[in-house]
Point group: C2
Chain length 289, copies 2
């Protein structure tokens, strides 16, 4: 599955490019924050602001680029405080605690509003760790579905740009054909990968965790306004396993457990084509009615 | 299930008591942090430091007591950066962003080390919201198990204090009788409530989300050292539903999906006796080997 290098940057790599900002002299010790300038990317635009999966990847990138970072991501939680305005944002990554083999992080994304004041648009916490080889086992059962080439690519809704950046091949739980309010289960299974294909890493895996369309739309066949409030990703693979996955498709499976007074949850799993469980992810999502 | 008021405080109420600290004059505006002094409680001692469920409740309490708090908890993520030392800690709660009906929070717990320096022992983020009544549905299926009175209370391990503060009645997936390394599934189902009984609220529900013994012990019948790294709780009930639950038992169900090179996940659901799904919760846990 290796391909010739493209001569232009992948839009995802453009999107997760952060520019380090100058730091004060007193901010070079242990626990010092680093600030990075980033920009929303038009290729990943959503209905309001950018696709949240890419915003999450941008926040994780601030951790990965920090010169004091120890190990690889184990856990990442991102809270969406506001839709980002198209344009620049500042990302600040701060190591809150560095232990022998684990490290705890805080990331804050801010944007300057029309009033000239900086406002928090996203907060995130991450745990990174130097993993050691141990007894391991994956208990989540990968569903049996047809191989990606045998499934037609999903039709692309013209309304949002970011959908074009993912090759999605739904196996079960497609977007409802008719929005008639007929209730169903909330399960969706699909193959997915970047378009154009791009070797998997922690950043793209994080974005892929947010690819599923809103469960409440599936559950109710009703297109109520929604917005993810908080998403957590647990990484069950090291950088080597992600690199070995390369440009293969991932099989994603997502469903909800509760819809209650304006907020529903979503739990999902992501496997590679070889059957390795790479990540489990959970989110809670606002819905209007 | 109402009982006469006890003349002494419940140990859980003692544990989650935080004392507001003086704030600087410039810290009274929007987004101003508040600091609270708290203490670990000997009744909730674990093998090293306190039971993490109560520490999480103490962090959430800092949000609930903040004078600018808007609404009720929807999402809460707590990252355990270090075992707490027995004694005092400082909890700082900061509203990062206040929207019309949602609010985003950062909580940091610090302790002063032997070196005289303050170190972060816990970070947490929370989203609170003013819920509106909407279409609602609980899709998670409550398992059919015997009623709490028909199940014997679990034997109490003498090694840790906090176990005595929970009345646990296991239905499935008990702690292994023999630690012989025989692999099994990772599922546990149990009824649980505070001991002595205490009306349910967001604080005790948060602590109950962390009651399950380590899944890797069940999965492998091997008592490897473990420690929760990060826990997320999604609340699917309002304060009224929690109050209506009162002192009833909760049915908890927990299992893992992946054990990989030193970290495993746990997903769990908590229902009340009336069958309402009150919370779903996820955590990632370090294991040594």
């Amino acid at each position: 599955m290796t391909r010739p290098k493209l001569l232009v940057n992948h839009p995802f790599d453009e999107a997760v490019t952060l520019t380090p900002q100058a730091t004060d002299a007193h901010e070079h010790g242990a626990g010092a924050p680093r600030r990075y300038l980033g920009h929303t990317h038009q290729a990943y635009g959503n209905m309001v602001g950018p696709f949240g999966g890419v915003t999450a990847a941008q926040a994780l990138q601030a951790v990965l680029q920090h010169p004091q970072r120890l190990g690889e991501p184990v856990s990442f939680t991102v809270n969406y405080a506001s839709a980002l305005a198209d344009g620049a944002f500042m990302a600040e990554a701060r190591p809150l605690r560095t232990n022998r083999s684990t490290q705890h992080w805080l990331v804050l994304l801010t944007q300057t509003g029309a009033d000239g004041l900086d406002a928090t648009v996203l907060s995130a916490t991450a745990v990174t760790a130097v993993r050691r080889s141990t007894w391991s086992a994956a208990d989540a059962v990968m569903p049996t579905v047809p191989a990606p080439p045998s499934i037609a690519r999903a039709a692309i809704a013209k309304r949002v740009k970011w959908i074009e950046r993912y090759d999605m091949r739904p196996c079960a739980g497609l977007m409802p054909h008719t929005w008639d309010g007929s209730e169903a289960d909330s399960l969706t299974q699909l193959w997915m990968r970047d378009d154009p294909p791009r070797p998997l890493d922690y950043l793209s895996l994080t974005a892929l965790a947010d690819v599923f369309y809103p469960r409440v739309w599936r559950r109710r066949a009703l297109m109520t306004p929604v917005g993810t409030v908080s998403m957590t990703v647990y990484y069950h693979a090291g950088a080597a396993e992600l690199a070995a996955t390369g440009e293969d498709y991932l099989l994603g499976q997502a469903r909800s457990q509760s819809f209650f007074n304006g907020f529903f949850d979503q739990s999902a799993e992501l496997w590679n084509e070889a059957g390795q469980l790479l990540a489990t992810t959970h989110q809670i999502v606002y819905y209007k009615e």
